[in-house]
Point group: D2
Chain length 349, copies 4
């Protein structure tokens, strides 16, 4: 498949390029960047010298349509919705990695992104790209909204339990810890090495835009919309998210529940999903085991005393949390095997 990457010089673009240049079914025929157009990709990222030689172009929908069948849109929130309609009009399929098309209701978008939506007519047809939950609709999608990094980790942690109705849907506490690449490539005081290094902090508790996205995705899947209190934390490392999710088991269920029951539920639920690994009983996930890979690892704890199930998931925010998942979606949309081009182990070191 011939594909293009729009906005190839941010971190999701960079990560996508790493995956795509090695993907056996893909040819990257065009890449764009407003900031760097005219430069070779390998000038912006010297790491690509000797691997990929193309030059960055400006964004012209017709040019993209003439060279590619599918476009990955790696633009900031607010920019995607400006260019996406024209891209769809050319007949291109689009995988959008921004937050612009992840909500059905433009009002929700406006509340959480603090701007009006400029293409609300497309929202109803946009498919939410979490392949473990919505594989069938993804395979048919023309406009795919790739989920947020935190969202992927929390939704995968909760989906089996919510679907089985073993837990109360509200409140759920999602305490998430992310590496710094999640903040993007733009320098700022907060991400300045000396102040970010050896530093740990919570931020935007209950106010992060991924919170309503988690709720909407889980509601759509499980039929009941949960209320999640989402607490993100910034951790001084490059990649990886641990989501530690606290849920209360329904009283009648709690009396009979065993950890083995929960483990079996998860094993069975994710049996068809090659990228979700349910860890053996009593093992906890570690970001280094998923680093650079498209896996999401899940560990489980049952605290009978407090009636609480804790689900801990680990993923690489740039791979399963962004670009790897985008390629997984592309595989489904293109009719390829789901794992093709994506089956690497975590890096460990």
């Amino acid at each position: 498949m011939r594909v293009a990457v729009v906005g190839a010089t941010g971190y999701t673009g960079l990560e996508l390029m790493k995956i795509l240049v090695a993907h056996p079914k893909v040819e990257v025929t065009m890449i764009t960047s407003e900031t760097y157009k005219g430069q070779a990709f390998s000038q912006v990222f010297p790491a690509f010298r000797g691997v990929y030689q193309e030059t960055l172009k400006g964004l012209i929908p017709e040019a993209l349509a003439s060279r590619a069948e599918l476009v990955f849109l790696c633009l900031p929130h607010g920019s995607s919705m400006k260019v996406l309609p024209a891209l769809l009009d050319t007949g291109l399929k689009v995988i959008d990695l921004s937050g612009d098309f992840r909500f059905k209701d433009p009002k929700v978008y406006e509340t959480w992104y603090h701007m009006g939506h400029e293409a609300p007519q497309l929202l109803k047809d946009a498919v939410f790209g979490l392949p473990e939950l919505f594989p069938a609709t993804i395979a048919q999608a023309r406009l795919l909204a790739n989920p947020g990094c935190y969202v992927t980790g929390v939704v995968l942690a909760l989906a089996p339990l919510l679907k089985a109705r073993w837990i109360y849907p509200t409140p759920i506490f999602a305490d998430c810890k992310s590496g710094v690449t999640g903040g993007g490539r733009k320098p700022s005081q907060r991400f300045h090495f000396p102040e970010c290094n050896e530093s740990l902090t919570p931020y935007s508790i209950g106010q992060h835009r991924h919170q309503p996205e988690m709720e909407e995705a889980l509601g759509a899947f499980a039929g009941t919309k949960p209320q999640i209190l989402f607490s993100p934390h910034l951790v001084p490392m490059n990649r990886g998210i641990i989501s530690t999710v606290y849920t209360r088991v329904r009283e009648e269920k709690a009396q009979v529940l065993s950890l083995e029951d929960v483990h079996e539920l998860y094993i069975s639920f994710y049996a068809p999903c090659p990228f979700v690994r349910i860890l053996p009983l009593r093992e906890m996930p570690n970001t280094h085991d998923v680093r650079g890979s498209n896996f999401c690892d899940i560990g489980l704890v049952w605290s009978k005393r407090t009636g609480t199930l804790v689900i801990a998931s680990a993923l690489d925010n740039l791979v399963k949390g962004a670009s790897g998942q985008a390629v997984q979606n592309m595989n489904l949309m293109g009719g390829f095997p789901e794992t093709i081009g994506l089956l690497r182990p975590g890096e460990v070191i």
Copy 2:
């Protein structure tokens, strides 16, 4: 005051030495180490060359008693209880940084530390050394049990709310993230640089020995013993703990509560406490602001929608979480101003 440090070559011993050599009211007259006895402290830690020249000795209670009035015991759990009775018998005051004397009931110790207690007769007189909660008894203590690092962060986060009875005492979720010095100085695969670096993981959820310690301290202070589900996480940095604590507000209170109310409660509660800093509204703590200092910073979030108060505290696990707090306790026990030798800002960088 003449003091001695027993077990001076672990991380709490090292940190204590940094504070004590600069303390205007203290002379460190003796230091001991079984592993390194006969070596100069500055051979074990070349960082102390030119600052402190003493040689490490073996542990002989009479020798300690002849040279010091107070001993800091920086031994591993299980070792403290073996030597502490003999030290007390000489008339020395003892500040114990291990977990051996933090519980009133030896059965609790045995359950969580998996060994029998060898000096249960001393437990009732041991004073739990959290100066913000128990200043009066600390001032009179002869045997002081210095609290665990996680315990300090969680207890300081919860004490005002539990005392005021604004929240349900159970269940409370304490999601804590700690730097690696919390694991001590002994090398292991888990703390091997390449596998620990760039790696994040939860561990011992609901099973960590600091969980019953939190509950006992808060119960003793507030009159109601809470049930806490404690989830520690290992973060790839040297120092610092963020404790993010989730509590449910009592229903009748929740209807009228504002964030300002909670803020005022904390400001007022901690007004007499020089080392607890309640952050301005909507600010969150950051470990780099407490690094190397004895401060504990606290930020507050009120999620009306879910009826949940989130309290986030930050401290340096080796200072306010261990050796700084031990010196704060020594200051109280010695009749010195509480802040003497301890009033450094956080390091930031």
Copy 3:
């Protein structure tokens, strides 16, 4: 090609496995470990769950010979020479990643490794596996000695200049800085996270075993054995080596030399080498551009004032400095394209 990995659970073994499981021409048919035999590789490294399922075996030469054509030996120095003769006797080709077969003269080995050589009869046939310098002999090798990580970076930096005889062969200063994975997987105080993190130190200046290896390889290639003073440094990061090499230009040459001349020399020398990237004039290499890749990047500085040429090379110590280079050698020995299975860009982030 069917290959086996002996000693698969150290860092070079782990890195080799990452490359081999994705290599289109290779099937890994057997892996061994004395420490972990009987366990699945994915138990030792959970990162491989869902990717590679084999169980670790004990080392039995006949078993290896019946299942593989080529063996990668990832054993510590001193262990390789004990098992290698028996492996060769079965007809297996062997790529040895230890230092045991890198010197022609067993006395040199004994001087620098402080033990007698147990298979000196094999030294003369062992081929030094630096593909950029010795591609023809490598293609014919049955026993290949894969170079040391530091050696690769310094030798690639110096080879063109020494061959061209533009510099004095003695003394040359090689100031090298390495990430911590170079020290292996065994925990120790020195590599304990809290003491290694945020810490930088030189070690073994003039006494490291890679120093005579650099000299022997360059001597064999250039016809003149240089004298190198090699200074390694430990840097608090996982991967990567920067070698900053200081050479004096021969007086007559210095008067006419320009940086452009040197640049052209390097470009031309490395034109046939897909994994050496000579950077544009005045650019310096960065470990993040080679991280996870088999590239070695080289930058050049000409200080006319002091008559000194500085060559700075960057590589990933576990890839081009160890396991990637081993696979590059395997590609040559197996008659495959040199880059197959190895052409990934550096990771950057």
Copy 4:
């Protein structure tokens, strides 16, 4: 002594404030910042809450003169020379931490800083503030030019040998590795956490402004101006510089030299200097042993084979390399004991 800090919100200002607020002979009576004036220092750096309450003012020389006897100038290069004459005119003593007054010849400044010097008349009276070399003139200084961080490490490494004339003064290779705080507080792509973390790179080899500064300071001290090729490297950690300096011993000296001779030379040379620690034979310095301290640790290697002496020094770039040294200079200028307020051990962890 009443002192003021101008430009208190950069990293050297921040570090200076940490030292000064704990200095028993100092009261910080005024702090200024153009960017943050009107804000409390503890708003800019919340780490100082509870420790220091003053508000940042604008820079008005008369106001400074009315409240302080000595001013620390922590402004960027180019800004210091604009305000310094007016400050001196008020009678204030000034310690300038920028590079503006470190050269005697304004042409050297103009060549390396690429701007004209605006107060050349002051250069001849400015005293270069390296207390180990120039204690007498420092004690009398009214305008003190505090040395660069790299300069301090390299000059302390070389001074004894150059003075003793045991080595050839040219060429000398100074391969230095610095933590990221050396680059200042301003965010940029290069210092963006994800690209700086796990990344190592040389930069500005032979072109850094500290190179002529090293040569001038050593020339002034030893009577012979050396030629140094200075190679800085950026290391992914916050603080610390290792300078590994390569020098050739004069031929006649080399034949009789022993490492012990060199060691004695350094011990004797630095005997009066409380902040220089000559390590025991065959020990190498480590940045973690000087972190947060004003010490400079020095280790020595004698390579008889190549006739080369290697000197490795370690210091904290923000303390002995900047603000600690500024306070050491202030101590001398104020007639205080040299070590007062500065005698902390390195942090180790």
